[in-house]
């Protein structure tokens, strides 16, 4: 074998590694820039809503957070009713959407015959692509009349139960917190169920088959093997859905009734942060506009707190599992 002079090769390698190092650096900086861009956009949006809402946030301070008034004539604003509506409708949506999504995902990954998985999976993803205004119009013209027919029955049955009954007493308008929550549930269902489906597929067949071999029922395999294995991703998916529910605007605006009040009944109309902004921003000037932007800032805060709770929950779970 002929051995060529090593010197030029070494120089070549040197040049090459120098070029590589440069490219690496550029690549790394580009990536860092992309990541920082997201952060900058987030901080920018938070700061600009803080700045836009400063008149109300700093001028009215605690009153803005604790008052239920919303009076554009007197310029007296309180954010309690929109915060209440946002949290309640999102909570209803989660309570309804999580079990159903769980069922869909389990069915598609574990039980459904192979030929059914594709079409149903595609249908769910299609559901995610429907614009929210369509949900709003469907809600208003189809679902609200339906709800107004079944609400008297709800009041007569669930409304009679002590304590919980209060939630279901009220005029059968068809509009309100419950209706909005159900529409939201339909909207966030595809997000949660497609995340769940993805992660359930990652559970090693080995684990499942071992469990079956030990005599577990399908339910036991799902509950004791699949779910613990994917727990953190499942919770992530749920919070993705919750994030969407908290910020959803148009569909809620159509079916919530848009009235600033805090009630014990889910059949009563309410308002949410984002629907208040969407409703009033167009004609709002001065303090009114400032109050709406301040509401936008509060949505940031509420979402942040919710995500923080999610993180803490995940950490608790991880601790209990001894990881």
């Amino acid at each position: 074998m002929q051995v060529p002079s090593t010197e030029p090769l070494a120089r070549n390698i040197d040049a090459r590694s120098r070029a590589d190092a440069l490219h690496d650096r550029i690549f790394r900086r580009t990536l860092k820039f992309c990541a920082l861009l997201v952060l900058a956009a987030l901080v920018g949006a938070a700061l600009s809503t803080l700045w836009g809402g400063r008149e109300v946030l700093f001028g009215h301070g605690l009153h803005f957070l604790s008052s239920t008034a919303w009076n554009p004539v007197e310029d007296d604003y309180g954010a309690l009713a929109p915060i209440f509506g946002t949290l309640v409708t999102s909570l209803i949506a989660l309570v309804l959407a999580v079990p159903v999504s769980f069922g869909i995902a389990l069915f598609l990954t574990e039980i459904a015959p192979a030929w059914l998985r594709g079409p149903v999976g595609a249908a769910i993803e299609l559901l995610a692509g429907i614009p929210s205004i369509i949900y709003g119009m469907w809600g208003l013209f189809v679902f609200v009349p339906f709800m107004s027919r079944i609400e008297p029955a709800l009041s007569a049955t669930l409304g009679k139960i002590p304590l919980v009954g209060k939630l279901f007493q009220g005029p059968p308008l068809g509009l309100g917190l419950l209706t909005a929550g159900i529409v939201l549930a339909v909207m966030i269902l595809p997000f949660i169920s497609s995340v769940m489906r993805e992660v359930f597929q990652t559970v090693p067949t080995r684990l499942k088959e071992s469990a079956y071999a030990l005599g577990s029922t399908t339910w036991e395999v799902l509950w004791d093997i699949v779910l613990p294995y994917t727990r953190s991703a499942v919770i992530g998916g749920i919070f993705l859905g919750l994030g969407r529910a908290l910020g959803e605007t148009m569909a809620v605006t159509f079916v919530l009734g848009n009235s600033y009040n805090i009630t014990s009944s889910l059949l009563m109309p309410g308002t949410t942060i984002s629907s208040s902004i969407a409703n009033e921003f167009n004609e709002a000037v001065g303090t009114h506009r400032s109050a709406l932007i301040a509401l936008g800032f509060l949505l940031f805060v509420v979402t942040f707190i919710v995500l923080l709770i999610a993180r803490l929950m995940l950490r608790q779970l991880a601790k209990r599992e001894g990881r």
Binding site: N71, P72, G174, T253, F254, G257, S259, Y260, P269
Partner: protein, 344 residues
């Protein structure tokens, strides 16, 4: 193509043609822009199309809401603004602006009560205010029964529907309630959005119409055109003169005709509760706002020409959309106002 530009003479020639054609365009047609009230948007865009056919001048109107229209004209980014609420003296003076009405519309109380047809229910201002204050909660309340002795009113709860978005319709409606009910004035007041004591909010006239249609025993207020198009029952009203009037073009015009424009500077007058014997009590207009000394005189002249054309030739278009043209007496006052206030 590129090679042809290599010769400087050809380049100059191309440039000259381009410049000439640009100037030629401006000599032929002027594009003016306006922004504001969504209440007038349908009629202004219809006028604009007809006016462009006639004169070649285009009026681009953006329906961004009255608040936005006021902000845009103050910033000087549009040739005219349109607002459902008149500007006060101080603001007009500060910015050197003037304002005048453009078209009239009527607002009607609309209801959904089984067995009662459109135009069969009589309401008056105080009763309407009490319903919206939450003091009258049932359809068979003595106050409603007294106005409608021959109607069979159900013992059902009234569901109050209002606008959830800020709007000129709400401004005129709440202004009317403030004029007829001292309690409404102190407790709620008037504005494009108010703190509603009771009820549910629908977005836009279409939202309120949809709610009224779907919710039994509801009452709301919408622009007259929406009540007609959606076949919702509307009430007739007892007006300031004590007469029961139906919402028609004649009663809307009667309100505009008898409102006290002569004693209002810069047309700063909301014409609800007008005194005329046949005046519809919740009649509204919107105001065009323009600079008295515009930066772009050509555009402003086109804008005046446009509105002048609309007052005289745009009546059919306005009527076809259920708007009401201004009565001649008011047009005369506006043209005098232009002569004295706008010096160009």
């Amino acid at each position: 193509m590129l090679t042809s530009y290599k010769s400087p003479i050809r380049l100059a020639a191309v440039a000259a043609i381009a410049v000439a054609s640009t100037f030629g365009m401006t000599a032929q047609a002027t594009d003016i822009t306006g922004a504001g009230s969504s209440f007038v948007y349908p009629v202004v865009s219809k006028w604009s199309a007809a006016y462009a056919e006639k004169t070649g001048n285009h009026v681009n109107y953006q329906s961004i809401g009255s608040g936005g229209g006021i902000a845009q004209i103050k910033a000087g980014t549009v040739d005219f603004g349109a607002s459902d609420m008149p500007l006060d003296e101080a603001t007009l003076d500060k910015f050197g602006l003037g304002q005048f009405p453009d078209v009239i519309g009527g607002i009607v109380p609309a209801f959904n009560v089984e067995g009662i047809a459109a135009g069969k229910m009589v309401l008056d201002g105080k009763t309407l205010a009490d319903i919206y204050l939450g003091k009258i909660t049932k359809w068979n309340d003595p106050a409603i029964r007294a106005l409608n002795p021959e109607l069979k009113l159900p013992a059902a709860n009234i569901t109050v529907v209002h606008r959830s978005d800020g709007s000129g319709t709400t401004f005129n409606f709440s202004d009317y309630l403030s004029k007829v009910s001292p309690e409404w004035k102190t407790k709620v007041g008037e504005g494009t959005a108010v703190q509603w004591p009771v009820g549910i909010g629908g977005k836009g006239n279409e939202g309120v119409s949809a709610y009224i249609k779907q919710i039994k025993d509801s009452i709301g207020y919408v622009e007259y055109a929406y009540a007609l198009q959606n076949h919702i029952g509307y009430a007739v009203m007892k007006n300031a003169a004590g007469n029961v009037v139906a919402p028609t073009i004649a009663t809307f015009q009667a309100a505009a005709d008898t409102a006290d424009w002569k004693h209002s500077k810069n047309f700063n007058l909301v014409m609800t509760n007008a005194p005329g014997a046949k005046a519809w009590p919740i009649t509204a207009t919107s105001w065009v706002i323009m600079y008295k000394k515009p930066k772009n005189v050509t555009n402003s002249k086109v804008a005046f020409d446009f509105f002048k054309w609309a007052y005289t030739h745009g009546q059919a278009q306005a009527r076809s959309l259920d708007y009401v043209p201004l009565p001649p007496s008011l047009v005369q006052q506006i043209e005098n106002y232009w002569k004295t206030e706008y010096k160009m």
